[in-house]
Symmetry: C2
Subunit: 662 residues, 2 copies
Amino acid sequence: MRTGIATVCLSGTLKEKMQACAIAGFDGIEIFEQDLVTSPLSPEDVRKMAADLGLTLDLYQPFRDFDSVTEDLLSANLRRADAKFGLMSRLGMDTILVCSNVATATIDDDGLRAGQLADLAALAGDHGVKVAYEALAWGKYVNDYEHAHRLVEMVDHPNLGTCLDSFHILSRDWDTAPIEDFDPDKIFFVQVADAPKLSLDVLSWSRHYRVFPGEGQFELAKFMGHVVRAGYTGPVSLEVFNDVFRQSDVERTAVDAMRSLIWLEEQSAKWLDANAASALNGAGTASGGAGAKAAGRRRYPMELATLPQVAEPAGFNFAEVKAADTAALETVLGQLGFEFNGRHRTKDVQLWTMGHARVIINEQAPGAVGSGAPAIAAVGFDVDSPVIASARAQQLKAPAVPRKSQADEEVFQGFAAPDSTEIFLCQGSPDGIAAWINEFGETRGSVGGLEVPSGARNAVIDHVNLAQPWQHFDEAVLFYTSALALEPQPYAEVASPSGLVRSQVMQTSDRAVRLVLNLAPVIQQDGASETGAGASVTGQRKTYQEHIAFAVDDLVATARAAQERGLDFLQIPANYYEDLDARFGLDPAFLATLQELNLLYDRDADGEFLHFYTATVGSVFFEMVERRGNYDGYGAPNAPVRHAVQYDHLHQLTSPTNTITY
Amino acid sequence: MRTGIATVCLSGTLKEKMQACAIAGFDGIEIFEQDLVTSPLSPEDVRKMAADLGLTLDLYQPFRDFDSVTEDLLSANLRRADAKFGLMSRLGMDTILVCSNVATATIDDDGLRAGQLADLAALAGDHGVKVAYEALAWGKYVNDYEHAHRLVEMVDHPNLGTCLDSFHILSRDWDTAPIEDFDPDKIFFVQVADAPKLSLDVLSWSRHYRVFPGEGQFELAKFMGHVVRAGYTGPVSLEVFNDVFRQSDVERTAVDAMRSLIWLEEQSAKWLDANAASALNGAGTASGGAGAKAAGRRRYPMELATLPQVAEPAGFNFAEVKAADTAALETVLGQLGFEFNGRHRTKDVQLWTMGHARVIINEQAPGAVGSGAPAIAAVGFDVDSPVIASARAQQLKAPAVPRKSQADEEVFQGFAAPDSTEIFLCQGSPDGIAAWINEFGETRGSVGGLEVPSGARNAVIDHVNLAQPWQHFDEAVLFYTSALALEPQPYAEVASPSGLVRSQVMQTSDRAVRLVLNLAPVIQQDGASETGAGASVTGQRKTYQEHIAFAVDDLVATARAAQERGLDFLQIPANYYEDLDARFGLDPAFLATLQELNLLYDRDADGEFLHFYTATVGSVFFEMVERRGNYDGYGAPNAPVRHAVQYDHLHQLTSPTNTITY
């Protein structure tokens, strides 16, 4: 599959965009007219630069408001087209995107329209230019891709074809199957964009909320499957208008974009495999029996590359926190009921376990990068083959993370997630014991001689909650989907004192791995602007906190043991328990226990959920949960309480005795 | 009018919110349940704190999903209500908001619904609580305020009334006139929110995009007029869910909110005056003749305060730039054709004029606040009475700006705009000469002995363009609307290399004053996150630029004179002129002149627009424009070019000779 991207997807100057596309590995680009018009580079400069960078210039776009106009306007439009065709010859480009008319169309007549497009095609022919005509979803008369294609067929000129844009097709819920019957020689270009399902006017939706494939909710693999079956072999190019991408680092966005096409290529191949039989029948080509599926796909002219295949991870292998001073982390883990399992024989790391839950404390050397405050550093996942999973991740542009190891030690295959958390792929063993724990010393024995509480002997990591910077949220969703085979769930929003927090669960089908991505609001502190010109926002401060949650069999017993060991619980306001009682009418003794131990509670049709939080250490805190019945959530109704109490602590505005001070 | 605000409008803890509301001058507040549940303050604490702060606790909200349910659910809901009524008695509150059922309603029967509401009213009566029943715009069966009111009438219980929320009414385009016929004793509460007109699903619209009155597009004065005519005298309370407000500084947002209610109060009175005759007729009260309008309003039970009245400003009096080192500003003004008109006799400021355009250069003392880089500091407007206009601004919570002046000098009435630009209200004189220019010394004479170019002898300030931080944009719109009587126009978005720039014109009806507010995207530079926990966005950098535009009679002559004086023009790419020719088919000699002088061009049905920009000095640059015919815009199609070239300069990525370097 030839990959491409429109320059309008990215931030920066044309030059910066082209360089980023080359680095990310795109085959070619679409030149968005405004990027050229505003550039100091001459068309010849752009042509040379593209050649130097190994990028083909696949599409000049957009040419607007051509068809369905009066005679006068047609002449002006043809003159305008003539100028652009001349420009394209200087750029060395041969394909231009012409959108169906939005603004100046006044005559709704397919015969007249076809005649005008024929005039354009003839002029294009003189310049050796191919015109790719596209139905915009909000085109005045032409807003359906089949309509655009019918016009192309009516004109029947070698220099006129159509451009298929997944956004304009899927946003209108048009059926994509008819694409298969198109003459592939008349499909001059294919643009892909994904989008979340929004009930917004389609123009605003299109201009602000498109995302890269895999980051939205469109059925793009199916769309591409039909395109491939049609016999199309040209570029598959991203055209994504997104407010966030346009503000983000250009090289990083280009890599995110490239990842989305690699993933789409694989998904398209899978869709073709899964739908091979029907396609063969549908296409009338008699074929069947064993092997027909794979054979079916391979017969299409477009080559679809495959990636190393992985199953979803079987579970968490470990979570790693790091700190320059590890004392506070050791204390809180000990109080929670973790056992100290010794130090690594060659590295400055400690192993702490509770049941099957393993936490590594990484002792940062003084002067290492970062503040040194305790933070989540890494998450390890159990996979069938770390080597295959790592190869897949790297083909998906995940940056590998080097981790030094001695010859006789377990080699961790690791890479960096978009938020810079390190992700390690580990070999899970059948008995649930990680191979690498033998690398830890014999100096066992829990801190203070304590043991894992009885209610926590089967503890596992229930979920890990990672905060995502706003500009990398969509990227993170695609990353965990594509590289780690986690399934994104519909996202929720929970209230906090500093705004709504978007919360997105990524999980495996058996829930052995649950990863929660939180998009935190930008908390800003208003300092009076110092300059009269104003407009400068100073002193932005981030207060992201992240946590690791452990599931136990008996939360009350676990909490009581932790209380006895002096754990600093997150203090839950009394008002919460009154409200809990109003909502659920709980047994008074049970309610009293919840309140005594600062436990939170939720209930739904599937079961019950009990949990508590520790105070925050650095940017990390811990949660203990007990799932009763088939409760599958995370206590979302309690999230605002957690956020408010943490906010309060952070701002130190409330005295511990809850007295009123002004 | 009694003013109120829901705590959910604001960021922070309940305590922070209450303090901010008291400082902003609200009479009372609505307590959003989640703010109480998540607070460490006991209900008694909240009650005492409100009393200490002089705030009434007007509404406890919301109680959800009560009506239209099965018998079982009704019992549970009554038990839940009983708990909340008990809580309210501890808070000392007597009114609760009950929303029409969204989630659990299963029986659509007004008789049953009224019966259930009667049960609730009876229980409320036992506790001395008043239930304000509100139709949510997306209520399952009840989503029309008249329907809610009919139910209240059916029940006919002293403890059941209705709550009118402008969002739920106006978002559905319901007619508001029927409100007038409601029994005022049955209107227990009124909530107001404005919103931009969006074609978005109403729930998302409501939860994320509400704004304070005057910041959106709802006809709130009319809504309030009907409420007043109905005879309602209770609180008018803001309930605004907005993603930005929730993240903004709480005290500042509270002041913005208070300003919106003061403005709404005035607008409501004006609407009543303007519609007094029809109301009197409509209400059947025979009255007429002179004075009927004012009399008509005063007869309503709700008192509506008035503000000092001002007309829109007659023009710009001056613009002020400041710098620690003023040399660069002096140079560029001199090159543009400004004359140096001397120094002020007591202050460190210079006066520069070109025709009727006056620019003050403020020489900042070393060590003054701010970076000292050149920036726009202030704008002066001609108004009929600076004292009255200033009184109005201050009643609208505009912070006054002290400006020292000697006894015999012109006193400037000034205040600070939300972006911290200083706004001065000046007395314009009939001959167009500002009174204060006599305070400038006799050391006249232009720099280098040059004079104002012939084409610029009638120059005026055409517009001033101020950048707005994202979190204060709506506030700024309301500020200039309410305090300065400027009229907001529909906003546009223009592309820039770092994202879309929202551009909002505020102007007077005769266009003597044009103020352009730009919401710049947040440009962020991705530094690799240093901590393994990731999620920290560091190194955000702002690149807001602002400018002052001057209109002249002959732009070509003005530009040529500036070129001869060595002005550093913003360099416009050659590609722009090719595109211009393709679009407009200009006369070749004219096109060559445009290109030679780096002029930009636009044309529409009303006229033509020529303009050029200077290079940026500090954060300020200048624009010269010529309006031909009735052209009323700002050359929006050229804005992306300007942004791209400025971005390029800022990033210093392009060599002046346009050669390709990697």
